[in-house]
Amino acid sequence: MLTLNLDNVALTPCNPSVGGPAKGHLVREIDALGGEMARNVDRTFIQMRLLNTGKGEAVQALRAQVDKRAYGAAMKRVLESQANLDLKQALVDDIRLLTGQGPQGRRPAPALCVTTSLDAQYRARAVVLTTGTSLAGRIVTGERDFPAGRAGEPPAVHLATGLRRLGLQLGRLKTGTPPRIDARTVDFSATLVQPGSEAPLFFTRDGLPPEPELAGAPASIYPRAQLGGWRDQLPCYQVRTNAQTHAVIRANLDRAPLFTGFIEGIGPRYCPSLEDKIVRFAHKDSHPLFLEPEGWRTHEMYVQGANTSLPEDVQLALLRTIPALGRVEMTRVGYAVEYDYVPPHQTKESLEARAVPGLFLAGQINGTSGYEEAAGQGLVAGVNAARFAQGWPRNASLPSSGEPACADVLAALAGGEQLVLPRSLAYIGVMIDDLVTSDIDEPYRLLTSRAEYRLRLRQDNADLRLAPIGYALGLLSREEYGRTEAKRVAVDAALGVLRERYLSPSPRTNARLVELGQPALSGPVRAVEVLRRPSATAAAVAPLLPTVPPAVWEQVLIQAKYEGYLRKQNQEVDRALRLERRHVPADLDYASVVGLRAEARQKLSRFHPSSLGQASRIYGVTPADISVLLAHLEKLHRARGSQVGVEGIVTHGPKVASDEA
C-alpha cells in the first residue's frame, strides 16, 4: 500500500461522520462481506443515532459521529496487523503498462509498473488506484488557490498525465468542506442540543468497545455529554443562519469563486455550499447548521451545512452573525477542491479500467463522493484485483444459496469470474451499476431512492443477504457465516410456525393481547397476522414464541410486515434476473447490429454493458433496441453453433489467463 501520508490513512477530511440513509446500509453490507468499516466505526464513534425510525425498516439507517484521530489510528493498526501487507509512504507519479510480458501459468504477468516521485518502481499484476481528491487537486478559498488534494497534502499532478497516457479520459469535479471552529468560542446556551441514542446501537452485530483513547473524560467544553450510559457520547449542537448571515454572503458574492467562474468543476447538488443555498433558495430566510465535535478530546468542531469557498474574512463574518457564534474563532478555513476523475463509462463493473488490464479504480476517481461509497467500491475493487492477480481462481466448494441473486454471484465466483453484486442484492451493486451505466457529471452519492428493490435491501438483513458471499470470498470466518446461517434458519422456522398457528379470540388470549398493548381479536387469525398490525413491536409479540431470541424476532417481525411487498419485489427480481443473465460480449461491435437506433448504438458503444439488463438501464436505450440486441445475440450464438439457449447464463469476467495459457 502506497499512501501520501501514513498518518493520514482513513482520514475523514470532511464530515467526522459515517452512515445515514443508504450510506449506513453500505456500511452494514461491507460488514456482512467481511470488510472493516463497521468495526472501525464501532471502535471509535462518539455518538450514534438511528435515523428514519418512523419511516419503515427499509429506510432506517445508523449514523455515527466518529473521533477523527481515533478513526484513522484504529484503521492504521488494522493495516499494520494485516499479514503480507507492506505500508509505504509515497507519492505516485506514474503508472505504466509494460508490454511483452507473457503470462506465468494461469496468472497474468506483473505488467503494471508504479513509479513514485522519488523514482522508486513497483511491479504489480494488479493495482487498485484510489486517488480521492488528490488527482490534480486544486484548493480554492476566496480569491486564493493552490495545488493540493486535501488541506496540507500535495496533489498527484504527474499521475493525471500518466493516466491520460494509458488512454484514460479524465473529467473534473468539485466538492467542498466547511470551516472548523474552536468550541471554546461557542455560546452553547444559544444552541439546540442533539443527543445520541439512549439505546445501544452498533454497526457490527455485537458491537465493539471504544478505543482506549476514547475512555475517560471528554473535552470539558461540551455541555450535556452523555456519560455513564451504554456508551459515553457527545451531542451535536444545532444553530441557524439568519437574515444578517445571508446579507453578509450576498454582499460578498463578487468574491465567491463559485460565482466568479474561478471554480469550473461541477459540485454535488445534495451537498451545496452555503452561498449556493442562499442564491438558489432566496426565499428561505434561515438554514440550519450543525456543530459536530471532531473528536473526544479536541476543541475543534465541524460546522455541518456551511460548506463554503468564500474568502476567509467573509467566512468568519458570516459565522459571527449567528448568536451562538458571536465570538467564534475559526481553526481551519472552509474550502472548495477541484480534482480529476475517470468518468466511469471507461470502467468495467469489476471496477477494472477497460483500457488497462489489471488497473482497478475505487472511490472519487470513479466520480463518487463519501467515505462509505469509497469503501464499498474499495472492497469490490480489492477483491477483483486479488482475483485478477491470482488468475481468476475457480472454487467448486463454495456455499450455496436459495436466493436467486445470491446464488448467481456464488456460481460466478465458483466459476472463476469477477465479483459483481446485482442491484437486487446490495446497495454496493446499485452504486456500481449506476456508475457504469450512466453519465456521471456530478459527484455521485448513494441514496435509498436509487435502489428500486430497497425493501429487500435493508440494513437489518445485510448479513442474511451477503454473508454467503463474504464467506465464499474468504473474507468472513466460518464462525461468522455459521451464525448468520443459523439465524436464517431460526427466522424461517419461526415464520413457518406463525403462519401455521391460529390464534382464537379466547378470553385468555385476548386478555394476554391487551396486556401486551395489542388490540383484542374478534375472530380467529393466523398468528402472523397479528405481527402485521402497525402496533406490533418485537417486545409486544415476543411472548407468542418465548424461545425465539430478540435478533430473530426483529427479522421475523419485519419480514411478516413487509411480506406482501417483498413477494412483489421478489417476483420483479426474478423477472429482471433473466435479462441480467443474458451476457453481452465485451467486444460486441454495435455498428454491426442491424436495426439499432443511432442513439442506442452510440450509448451502447460508450458504456459496453455486460448484460442485457444493464443495457436496458442505459438512458436512451429503448425496449425495442433490447429486442434488436437480443435477436442479434441469438443470431451470433447460432452462427457459432453454440448450444447456449435462451436461458444462457451470463459469463462475467475476463478469461484472460485461460485464453492465454
Binding site: E57, Y270, G305, A624, I626, S627, R638
Partner: protein, 458 residues
C-alpha cells in the same frame, strides 16, 4: 422478457368479418380460462383441449358482462407458431370488440406484444432459421421506426401533455416523501400527501374513461385538411359531413386548434382533421397555421391540400405545399364557383403527381369527385389507415391501468399508516408506468425534482 405472456391483435385494422386476438406464452391458457365461457351466464371456464375450436363468449370476469361471441382455439406448445402455448380468439371484426378483448387479456396479466414480437419469439424459440432472422430484424426495425414516429407525434397531443402533468404531480409527492427519507436531517417542509394522491387518482380515472374515446378517434384513415386561412377548409369539412348521412361519432376537437370528425366514407372509416378554426385575423396566425399544418400533416395518412381558386397563389400556399413532401395528398381547388385566379397547371405544379379536384364547398359541387379521389387513394394503396395507433393506444391504456393500481396501493398504504417506504415503492411504480407513455426516466427526474424543490445539504 421472453418468459411472460403477450397478446396482440393479429389481423389488419378496419371493418372486417372477423378479427383475431392472439395470446402467446406460459399463461395463455390460464388467461383464456379466466375470460372464456362456453355458455352465457356460466361462471366456470371449460377445460380446453389442444387444437380444437370452441364456441362461446368472452366475458369480463369481474362483471360477468359478455363482450363478444367468439370462436376460440388453444394450441399447446411447441407445435405452434411461437413454440409457446398459443390461444387464438376469433372475434367479430371491427375495432371495438377486438380492442375490448385485447384489453381484457392485458388486464388479466398479458403484456402487449412489442412490434414484431410474436415473430421474434418464433425465431428465438428456434421456429425460424437463420435466414429468416434477417427479415425478423427488418420487421422489428421498420415497426420500431414507425412506432417512434407515432410516439413523437403523440407527444404533441393532448393525452401526452395530460400524462406529463399527471406524472409531474405524482413525482412531486414522491419527491417529497423521498426527500424526507434520504435527506432526513434537512428541513423538508411538511406537505399534504393524501390530497394530491386523491386528485391524481381521479385524473387517471378521467383519462382512462376518455382513453376509450381517444382510441375510437384513432381508428381509421386520418385525413388532414390543410391550407392557408379562408380558403374554405371548414366549409369543405362541413360539406363532406353533410354529404355523408352516416356520421359515426362526432368528437370535439382533440386540441384547441383542430377539429376532428369521424365519418364513414363508402365503408372506410375516415377521421377528418380540420386545422382551421381559431383567430384567423391574428397577427401570429400564419406562423401558427403553418406549424399546425405541419403537425396535422405529419400525423395524417392522407392530406387534403385546399387552395382558393379565386386568389393568386401566396407564399403561405407554397410553405404548406412544401410540407407535403411525399405524403399522399389530394389537391383541392376550392371556390370553383368564383372567377378563377389560378390555373390548374399552376396548382398542379405546386404538388406534382397528386390528383386535383375542383370544388365549390358551399354549393356542394365537386364533393362526389373528392370522395372518389379519397377512396382511390386508399384503394391504390397510396394511403392506408395506420396500423399502429390501435397498438399504441392500448399500450397507453395498459400503462394507465398499472399507474392507477399503483396509485391506489400507495393511497392505501399511506392511509393504513404503513411505513413511508412502502408508499414510495408504489409511487415509483406509478411514475414509471406513466413514464412509459412519455418516455421519461424516473430516477434522474426524481432527483431533479427533489433538488429543485427542497434546499438539501444540511
Amino acid at each position: 422478457m421472453l418468459d411472460d405472456t403477450v397478446a396482440a391483435i393479429s389481423t389488419p385494422i378496419g371493418e372486417g368479418g372477423i378479427g383475431i386476438v392472439r395470446l402467446s406464452g406460459p399463461r395463455a391458457l390460464a388467461i383464456a380460462g379466466e375470460l372464456f365461457r362456453r355458455r352465457r351466464g356460466l361462471t366456470m371456464a371449460p377445460a380446453l383441449r389442444s387444437h380444437r375450436l370452441y364456441h362461446g363468449w368472452i366475458c369480463d370476469p369481474q362483471s360477468g358482462e359478455p363482450l363478444d361471441e367468439v370462436l376460440l382455439a388453444y394450441m399447446r406448445g411447441p407445435g405452434t407458431y411461437t413454440r409457446e402455448d398459443v390461444v387464438e380468439i376469433d372475434c367479430h371484426g371491427g375495432p371495438l370488440p377486438l380492442r375490448r378483448v385485447l384489453e381484457l387479456c392485458l388486464r388479466l396479466g398479458a403484456r402487449l406484444a412489442e412490434p414484431g414480437e410474436l415473430t421474434l419469439r418464433a425465431f428465438l424459440n428456434g421456429r425460424l432459421d437463420l435466414a429468416q432472422a434477417e427479415s425478423v430484424l427488418d420487421v422489428v426495425r421498420a415497426r420500431t421506426e414507425t412506432g417512434l414516429r407515432l410516439a413523437v407525434e403523440q407527444l404533441g397531443g393532448r393525452l401526452s401533455s395530460a400524462i406529463r402533468d399527471l406524472r409531474r404531480q405524482v413525482l412531486e409527492v414522491l419527491a417529497y416523501l423521498t426527500a424526507t427519507i434520504d435527506f432526513v436531517e434537512d428541513e423538508i417542509p411538511p406537505q399534504d400527501v393524501a390530497g394530491p394522491l386523491e386528485m391524481t387518482l381521479a385524473r387517471v380515472d378521467e383519462l382512462l374513461a376518455s382513453a376509450d374515446a381517444g382510441i375510437v378517434y384513432r381508428q381509421g384513415l386520418q385525413v388532414a385538411i390543410v391550407g392557408r386561412p379562408n380558403v374554405g377548409k371548414s366549409s369543405l369539412l362541413n360539406a363532406l359531413l353533410r354529404q355523408e348521412r352516416a356520421i359515426v361519432t362526432p368528437i370535439p376537437g382533440t386540441t384547441r386548434d383542430t377539429l376532428a370528425e369521424t365519418l364513414n366514407l363508402r365503408g372506410i372509416p375516415v377521421v377528418l382533421v380540420d386545422t382551421a378554426g381559431i383567430r384567423e385575423s391574428d397577427q401570429l396566425v400564419e406562423r401558427l397555421g403553418v406549424e399546425r399544418s405541419r403537425r396535422a400533416t405529419a400525423a395524417a395518412d392522407l392530406v387534403l391540400f385546399v387552395l382558393a381558386g379565386d386568389e393568386p397563389l401566396t407564399g403561405y400556399d407554397r410553405e404548406v405545399a412544401a410540407l407535403l413532401a411525399d405524403k399522399p395528398a389530394v389537391l383541392v381547388l376550392n371556390k370553383a364557383d368564383l372567377p378563377t385566379a389560378i390555373s390548374a397547371a399552376e396548382a398542379a405544379a405546386l404538388v406534382p403527381g397528386r390528383p386535383l379536384v375542383r370544388t365549390a364547398a358551399t354549393g356542394g359541387e365537386g364533393l362526389a369527385e373528392l370522395e372518389e379521389a379519397i377512396v382511390q387513394a386508399v384503394f391504390a394503396g397510396r394511403a392506408a389507415p395506420s396500423a399502429e395507433p390501435l397498438v399504441s393506444n392500448p399500450r397507453h391504456k395498459q400503462a394507465l391501468w398499472r399507474a392507477r393500481e399503483h396509485l391506489a396501493a400507495a393511497r392505501e398504504a399511506y392511509a393504513a399508516g404503513l411505513p413511508v417506504d412502502c408508499a414510495t415503492i408504489d409511487l415509483s411504480a406509478a411514475v414509471n408506468a406513466l413514464g412509459e407513455i412519455t418516455g421519461e426516466s424516473a430516477t434522474e427526474d426524481l432527483l431533479d425534482t427533489i433538488f429543485n424543490q427542497f434546499c438539501i445539504g444540511k
